[in-house]
Subunit: 83 residues, 2 copies
Amino acid sequence: MSVVISNKAGVREPEGETILHDLVSKAGFDQVESIRAGKHLRVRVSAKDAATARKLVERMCNELRIFNPAAHSCEVSEARPVP
Amino acid sequence: MSVVISNKAGVREPEGETILHDLVSKAGFDQVESIRAGKHLRVRVSAKDAATARKLVERMCNELRIFNPAAHSCEVSEARPVP
């Protein structure tokens, strides 16, 4: 499973803004409109199917307060294969 | 587009190990087998289609050395919708 923890939409995210303004835009990548940085967790779970695994990971993130629900959003999705 | 930058497979990743051993396993989530932490970037791009956007973001990550290719892997994929 793939977990993305990032600032809530509407809240400023200084790390991504810095990457965008001081690196990406200065290098001429004008098609890039915004960058928002966050934390990624790749969680390997033993479960009978993807839906069960997803529910477990969602419960884990919520119960253990891996993110701050006042400030962050937490999205759980099926992980992409490791390249 | 969604960019995940993480330690290469086979290289230890202490942040994820700490979350697993000191938090998740102690709380009894025994089905969780491994956790690897990394950086997530959500990049909004103006492009005619997803393939073009993806190529642009891959070129940006490589040319601007947003990651260290000796230590990290960098995966670009289509972003999931913001919840």
